[in-house]
Symmetry: C2
Subunit: 379 residues, 2 copies
């Protein structure tokens, strides 16, 4: 069977080993490291596909759990798959639904067979198994799909984590067997293991032995410190094959993106840019800015004077503040546009820095300017 | 003094006298009859200026009352006026704020000097006089501005309406005197008079004697029947000069637009297209369609198969229904885009029909297809 996904390593940063690469999917090629905007319900909140394209997003994410609930995979399948349904002709990645089952749903009951839970929308009792998750993802039709994993709290009891990791490996194998479209959809395995090197190693070994076309690292960015996350990445990425992409799930703060790339990560996703945008907060070259604050009422400069995005080229802080205070949707369109652009553009700069073997210098400059070295600032 | 606005009559429909014309403002020229999308708070809800341009909107409306409340005229003035503030380089029209004072605000006290009322946002006691309204509009800087008028209920007591109309004429004169920028902003007078021909005639005579660059017809589409509105238009437009534009305020349903044009109206505005869009209702060649209804869950056709707008070219009813049910902003972007386009495109067809002396035939075909002749349908 031929893999629907290929990873090409273009260059490694001489000092850190960070990877500049290229991933080719049935819906186009994108460079890595890449940040993937999240379109939970088949829409990156407030944005049009054309806007995402003009920002340089070559791949977006959609959520299996949410689309399973609404509109239902049968409707997406009937539409011809997610790409046609949402008018996006570039790459799409879906998660397995597991993370939402473990974070959003109520009354979970986890057994070997799968998870029983109550829908957070309808309240109905539902059941998700590895085979069911893969079946839904096959119906949705993304280019890249995830195995069903359990995502337990980071500092769970060791014995529980050990059992959970072993079950996640068995679930990954079951999913692989159930996968109906291995020639057109690339299924990734997800490395779990909490804070334990021993369990992360076991998880990686189990999954690598199943020869997935790519590997995700899950169970991080769930409340542990950034130092702790970086420690686990340093340990885990070397366990994964050089010729496959590595995806760190749920990470989107600028520092964590850069530090993840330094530790060998190729792909990231996070709702952060659109979520904070809806609260009137934007990322700028000089750190976060709460554009809806009163102090910007008379500020006729762009959100980020160093940014060349559509929103920053055309609109002022004063106008955007007004729109957000007045509950005008166009305000959060502009903050969302800017924030997604900011992260896509950050990754573009990161890729250039890798190409020039200057990633550590780029990190130092970026951290200083963004304010990460200023202990009085809160991120 | 040279007028900042010129109206050029291009052609009159041979059977109805409906006018095809052209209005030139300091920010460009647009053809009439024209529907003006409403950007109440300096944003046409959910839409970007570029989107309005690609639809062919040459003029939009903003609301003085709302902008007075938020962000305040001083901020818009400091930004360099509404055009710069909201990044719209074509024509802008503002109302006087009077309509909102009479419909939204509480505890109104109307005196010769002006109106005292409580802000519907802050609850603060505020005062609006003809001079104050013009002062705010001068600060906002639209190309076309309105005189402060009183807009009493349509079927008010005759004596009250008589006094009100006389006061509105005095207010129009006071506004004209207070106007600081007659060379760059065209001030319109507003004809009132409720259902009484005698009062409409008096109002029109008063205002025409003041030689405004254009005239609005107010106090219609406020609850009276469409037959009644058409009767008043038939009576009123002949009282207005041929060489000036005529603007029917607050009208946006397709039938009323066509019937207004037939009675000599050049300009219209209404929140209807964006308001119903937010409720998941769209206008189509075959009448209104509630796209969020369950029956469209599996419907993979466009909102209006005969429409060539961005939304109809790229998205299906099933997708848009899903977005609206899932509270995704992009859903109401698409319905808003389509509805505004629908009315702009309707007016384009109306202009072509006038040019070909076929407006009555166009009306008959449109009414039949839209369903206006079907008494079982509710509009």
């Amino acid at each position: 069977m031929s893999s629907p996904l290929t990873y090409k390593l273009i260059h490694q940063d001489k000092k850190t080993g960070a990877r500049l690469g290229e991933i080719t999917t049935p819906h186009g090629t994108f460079q890595t490291p890449m940040f993937m905007p999240v379109g939970t319900q088949a829409s990156v909140k407030t944005l049009a596909p054309e806007e995402l394209k003009e920002m340089g997003a070559g791949v977006i994410l959609a959520n299996t759990y949410h689309l399973w609930q609404r509109p239902g995979p049968e409707i997406v399948k009937e539409a011809g798959g997610l790409h046609k349904f949402m008018n996006w002709d570039q790459a799409i990645l879906t998660d397995s639904g597991g993370f939402q089952v473990f974070s959003l749903a109520q009354m979970r009951d986890i057994k070997e067979e799968g998870v029983t839970f109550k829908s957070h929308i309808s309240g109905a009792k539902m059941f998700l198994s590895p085979e069911k998750a893969i079946g839904i993802e096959n119906d949705l039709g993304p280019d890249i799909m995830m195995s069903l994993d359990e995502c337990p709290p980071y500092f769970s009891d060791f014995e529980y984590l050990q059992k959970s990791v072993a079950r996640t490996s068995r679930w990954a194998e079951r999913g692989l067997k159930a996968h109906r479209n291995p020639d057109t959809q690339a299924l990734f395995g997800i490395v779990q293991g909490g804070p334990h090197e021993e369990l992360r190693r076991q998880s990686a070994q189990d999954l690598v032995s199943l020869d997935f076309p790519g590997y995700s690292i899950g169970g991080l960015s769930v409340g542990e410190s950034k130092e702790e996350m970086n420690r686990m990445l340093e340990f885990t990425t070397p366990l994964l094959p050089q010729n496959k992409p590595r995806y760190l799930m749920g990470v989107g703060s600028p520092d964590a993106l850069i530090d993840g790339v330094i530790r060998g990560i190729d792909m990231f996703d996070c709702v952060l840019p659109t979520r904070i945008a809806r609260n009137g907060t934007v990322m700028t070259s000089h750190g976060r800015l709460v554009v809806k604050n009163a102090k910007y009422a008379h500020d006729f400069t762009p959100m980020d004077p160093e940014c060349d995005c559509y929103a920053c080229r055309n609109y002022t802080r004063a106008y955007i503040r007004h729109l957000i205070k007045a509950d005008e949707t166009f305000g959060i369109r502009l903050t969302s546009y800017h924030n997604v652009y900011f992260l896509l553009n950050l990754m573009k700069k990161v890729r250039a820095a890798i190409m020039n073997d200057e990633l550590l210098e780029f990190r130092a400059d970026f951290f200083e300017k963004y304010g990460y070295n200023d202990s009085s600032r809160d991120f």
